[in-house]
Symmetry: C2
Subunit: 433 residues, 2 copies
């Protein structure tokens, strides 16, 4: 992969430039390690705001940031745009589409991918939202559907075009449902005066008996209430069995007809070939000890969504697959490498500190659970905005996102309703008129 | 196409929502006409700033604007996202990918497309920059090339990857060359410290003996000087004969090896099938009389790049294919339709008023030709910025573009160096390393 070898300097290869990988890459001491960061994109994605890209609120540049721009100190640092397809743990080598690379230490920070739980139909016909291209596809898809709805004289087809089904009642599903409901309320009636926007239906389907499983019961109820007020049909205890591109099949013989199913029902670890299945959980996360080291290999560590550190009491299935554990684990590993690893000093175990969780439902509406108190309504929404704004990397991205949000707040508008790359339907269900 | 017919109201169909078509659509009186605007995109593109999208200075949302958002008065107005493939002038019908439509009056405002002058190789291997997806492809292509240059050990390949050839010395070519030269100077050395950026070569090839043919000789010389100062190799009197994906063949047996050829050497009218060749000029622009009516059909008009109105003295080949004539012709047609057409009153012929032309070369550098005076340097650059900022549609786009420009000015940076959709090379010339 054309990276020079430096004498007496161990090479740390980090796979993945998400919250976890980026944090390590930034903090590792370059006088102790040569750092190689590999990602399949040349940018870091601020995933918590992906739904705003999908719903025409923000352009990708506000939530994406060039990795080469983020990492300013270039000494002993190498970024490579590459896709890793195999790891040979014996030879200590990473194999990518642009060549192979030896590592002294390997840090897996590959994150997670959409989990369809083995259902090929759903994988084929539904729309995921885990990456920027996927969010842009979703944006195109939503807008194209309204353009198509205008053209058809068949009311059955129009109904299916204007019915949106979001599967999964976690933060992603809730935030997406809220944003769609706001488009229905404020934007679409102006854009499509010759359509009856009342015909637009938004369904949020959740398999368990409550929304926002990671949050408090009260916040879940508040989110439910806010969504219903916005006109979202929230279905709890409702398991999706199949989807054929036209009909969502739900247990108990219920079904919903829709051309638009957005799948936000689960994620699994983005594992790379080369590891043993017995080292992973069902959700394809690799098991690590309390120093975030893999159980089998002394020179391979895992952090973020891909890592599963089981603590008996609080996190029997590993930490939540969100930004916070990823960032904290990234910091922990950097600190471990910088101060303990080479000297073989013992280190304290990783301990996750939950700083709170939050979800926004729409204008002036959000819920926040902090360790000692809860918030809802305008204040929660304002804190949500502040936290997400500060989370964005770089002054420019913050300035642009803030400008967009302020204008949207006062104009009741979504700015970027652009179909730049039309999305090709996978299902040929639409007849020509 | 599912558009209602209204008694006693003539239907005007406008094809194309560029500067010309949009102007008519906005200004036609809806109590006199039913207006149908058709475009293959759901957004208007501010083409003069496309080169900034291609060189990672702006995201598309700053220079694109949803057509449904722009046209606020919805009464008797219909926008349809469609691609027109044929016009039947006898039946007075427009045929599109989403159905057909009858017109009482037709206004052609389809603009122009890249002109390869019949050379299939150049069309296949070079990169155009006439639309937002093309500009984004170019952005990905430029960034991917530097990533590839990092990986290769073959200096010959690296040289070809880092050589950029822009063909065409009009405003597009000049502005693109300037922006690339600024990337070379301010951005790339920081992003790619392990590459020798001095190896990057930027060539601007112009077929005629001077740059900026539409501008004054002095401004052309100034642009030439500024580009050379920025390190661009400007070749005048230099005709490109062919390009095979690796070598640009120039007359007099010269050649340049490069994987990156950007074609900005010409445009031609974006004609639709259904018209006679004898009604068009070589550049595929349709001939119109001095009321912008086509010579053969009393109910078909043409405006903007697609229209060719020949005035013997000043514009023997039609007006310049730029934004200004398009906007003025759009206004003229709207005025004609609103006040003269239905009453069959005689109208004054269209007269183009040249308000000035300008081109920017880089930071603090631009040239402006106004009717009575010329400007260069910082003031010209500032006026260029102001004019382009005001030209953008909508407060939001202006705010976002201005924020980007201010940050770039002080940070010497290009913000959006993102490869969101990787560009697939058409030529398999790159060996794996």
């Amino acid at each position: 992969m054309n990276i020079p070898t430096v004498n007496n300097l161990k090479r740390v290869v980090i796979i993945g430039a998400g919250f976890a990988g980026l944090q390590v890459a930034k903090k590792l001491k370059r006088d102790k390690f040569q750092v190689v960061l590999i990602d399949k994109n040349n940018y870091h994605t601020f995933q918590p705001l992906l739904y705003q890209v999908a719903t025409a609120g923000l352009e990708p540049d506000s939530i994406a940031n060039s990795i080469r721009k983020i990492i300013k100190k270039k000494k002993n640092f190498f970024f490579r745009l590459a896709y890793v397809h195999y790891i040979n743990t014996k030879k200590q080598k990473v194999y990518t589409n642009v060549g192979e690379l030896f590592y002294d230490y390997l840090i897996l920070a590959t994150g997670s991918v959409t989990n369809y739980f083995g259902n090929r139909n759903i994988e084929h016909f539904s729309l995921p939202m885990k990456s920027i291209p996927e969010a842009l596809n979703l944006r195109s898809h939503i807008l194209q559907d309204f353009e198509s709805a205008l053209l058809t004289k068949d009311s059955k087809i129009r109904e299916k075009l204007m019915t949106f089904v979001i599967v999964g009642g976690g933060p992603t599903g809730v935030e997406l449902a809220g944003a769609l409901a706001e488009m229905k309320k404020y934007v679409l009636p102006h854009d499509y005066p010759d359509l009856d926007i009342k015909q637009m239906n938004i369904h949020l389907l959740q398999a368990s008996t409550r929304l926002l499983d990671g949050m408090s019961e009260k916040s879940a109820q508040q989110a439910f209430k806010n969504l219903e007020e916005l006109g979202v049909n929230v279905w709890l205890d409702c398991l999706v069995k199949d989807y054929d591109g036209q009909i969502v099949f739900i247990d108990k013989n219920k079904k919903i007809e829709s051309y638009n199913v957005i799948w936000a029902a689960g994620v699994k670890g983005a594992m790379i070939k080369g590891f043993l299945n017995e080292d992973m959980l069902n959700s394809q996360r690799i098991l690590v000890d309390n120093s975030l080291k893999t159980l089998r290999y002394n020179n391979i560590f895992a952090i973020g969504d891909i890592a599963c550190m089981i603590t008996n009491k609080s996190y029997p299935n590993g930490h939540p697959m969100t930004a916070q554990p990823a960032i904290q684990q990234g910091n922990f590993i950097a600190n471990n490498f910088n101060h303990y690893l080479l000297d073989k000093k013992p280190i304290k175990p990783f301990r996750y500190k939950n700083l709170g969780t939050m979800a926004t439902i729409g204008r002036n509406k959000a819920v926040c659970d902090f360790p000692y108190f809860r918030l809802k309504g305008f204040l929660a929404w304002f804190i949500w905005m502040f936290v997400h704004l500060v989370g964005l990397i770089g002054f420019r991205n913050r300035a642009i996102a803030l400008t967009n949000w302020i204008i949207q707040y006062f104009h009741y508008n979504k700015s970027v309703r652009l179909i730049i790359r039309p999305f090709n339907r996978k299902n040929n269900q639409l007849k020509k008129n």
